[in-house]
Assembly symmetry: C2
Homo-oligomer: 340 residues x 2
């Protein structure tokens, strides 16, 4: 299997993507392609003693800045590392793509270079969010790709999220819930009210009804469906709370000599908690609804986070997640036509 | 000053509202009216040795259930404790109203019994949310009253939130931000894009631009403006995270004998943190845009939480918050007309 990584995506490029690629070759048995300025990549490998065995360096002239208009990846930045990598995947030269660069550009590139799977209205970004309670995490879909959504899009998100969860988490019947401001059917805006009715009638997913945001961090469902505006607010608030809570823990234990001693006694438990909420453990966020696996790694990814995102890409290929999504959406369409 | 409390609102009615009213009389120097089944209220006072000095009991025949259709407060439940209390305030028999009953019913009752202030499009629920960082909290407005909003409504929320923050928190120029999925002007849906343009042009508020949800728990602004759907998701996710963190802290310190000892060393710091995020310390959520102060206390309020909500109501009366809001909205309208 051959996986491409954007050598110039993320805050710590090119060193960490290079190191992540080398770790993936050694530990996951995949072949890697690192895309970007080839001279810089080769120097980076040499200076840091990164073995290039199993790694191909593919040259790209430019890098698309994270704050650039995303669609510029198609024209003005069509020679950037992200675009060149995506083209390799689209052309069948590789099986999957990983980047920690601009989310918007990756979404635009995934949609128009790798292209949408058959029947997909809009590709979507799904994010695994760690939780407490019985479940370890839930899949938040859409976590930011489509601010404005129609109910039929949410129905597809539910199907894509179910297929991803089943194949990647090994679940058999993941619970799908609609993020809403109350559990009753009539709650929310028109989008939620109409989506509820569609989701309720779909027998190819396990719809468990509305979920209030309060239940999300407590492990209330496996797949949480919403529009990309709501999802992005949920995702970013979750990140904000992680930072807030880390600050609270610090201020508790840094108060005085006694509290510093207390820290030594709970160090192991705190480390376990931090690990349980560490995005680096969970790989990246897949862009679902495109023809080949495309994974968005966190902007601040280190080598380990890149390696885990590559592992996730590998797993997507092995499980044929893109194919499973396409057939799920075809089933949804067949159901709609039968009901029409 | 005379403040009315719903004797049958909340999970611990009528005991805790009664105790809260008695504490308010003793500590805040207000006159209280407790509304509800007078026999039950009198028995409750007798059985629990609650002094009735300074408290008038006003009879009401029924109680509106929390899951009842909110507008039923106007007809089917027009004799409920909440409706009777609101009527007293509307008729000038009292200065403000506090209830821990159904939020929807209180909003409907506030809007149609106490009535909207002049020029107000839609009354709104504002909630003080505790944060880390330099600021102690921010005012989330709308936190759930209006799922669907137009940009002009958000402009009024900004004015109402500013007036409330200035008068109740004693701030001089509170920073108002629009909750969005990016800081750039063009981010978000049509609602956010149009609202941004209106807010940017308003010289009677201190608009600081968009705020991402990540910054909310870190104290990124004083007044966070959004539609009621987004606000309710933010509020409930915040509550969920509080419960989640409490669970995490428990699991860290309950692991074994050593961690239990550690707890003793940081007990004081943890108590201080818990106090800083305890809604009971912050009073209730005001319904803004109605003619008299109406405060929604938390459903699980105890006597102390009720007393703090009554203190807040008293402060609203003293500061003439309703009048300040009305004149702020009149200024906004005058500005619009001057620009038209």
């Amino acid at each position: 299997m051959r996986i491409v990584i954007d050598g110039f995506g993320g805050d710590h490029a090119p060193l960490e993507p290079m190191r992540g690629a080398a770790q993936a070759v050694a530990e996951l048995g995949v072949e890697m392609v690192v895309v970007g300025d080839s001279e810089k990549l080769e120097n980076c490998a040499k200076e840091n003693n990164i073995p290039l065995e199993g790694i191909t360096i593919k040259h790209a002239d430019s890098v698309i800045p994270v704050d650039e208009e995303p669609t510029k990846i198609l024209k003005a930045y069509s020679d950037c590392s992200m675009a060149v990598g995506l083209k390799m995947v689209a052309d069948g030269e590789a099986d999957a793509f990983v980047s920690a660069g601009s989310t918007g550009a990756l979404l635009a590139g995934g949609t128009f270079i790798v292209k949408r799977s058959k029947g997909i209205k809009r590709p979507v970004i799904a994010t695994l969010v760690p939780t407490g309670g019985g479940k370890k995490f839930y899949l938040l879909i859409d976590s930011g790709a489509n601010s404005d959504c129609r109910p039929e899009m949410l129905a597809q998100f539910a199907v894509m999220g179910t297929a991803y969860h089943k194949n990647m988490m090994g679940s058999t019947n993941p619970e799908v819930a609609l993020i809403n401001i109350g559990t009753e059917e009539h709650k929310g805006c028109e989008l939620q009210q109409q989506s509820y009715q569609i989701l309720k009638g779909m027998d190819i997913i396990n719809f468990v009804g509305n979920i209030e945001a309060r239940q999300l961090p407590l492990g209330g469902c496996d797949v949480a469906v919403c529009d990309g505006f709501t999802g992005n607010v949920v995702l970013k608030l979750t990140e904000g709370f992680s930072a807030y809570f880390t600050g609270v823990l610090k201020s508790i234990f840094y108060s005085n000599a006694a509290t510093k001693m207390a820290y030594l006694l709970v160090k192991k438990q705190i480390a376990a908690f931090k690990k349980s909420v560490d995005y680096k453990e969970y790989g990246g966020a897949p862009i679902l609804g495109v023809k080949k696996p495309v994974i968005k790694a966190h902007g601040s990814s280190d080598a380990k986070a890149f390696k885990n995102a590559i592992r996730q890409a590998k797993f997507c290929v092995e499980k044929n997640v893109c194919g499973e999504i396409e057939s799920g959406v075809a089933q949804l369409k067949a159901g709609d036509e039968a009901n029409a």
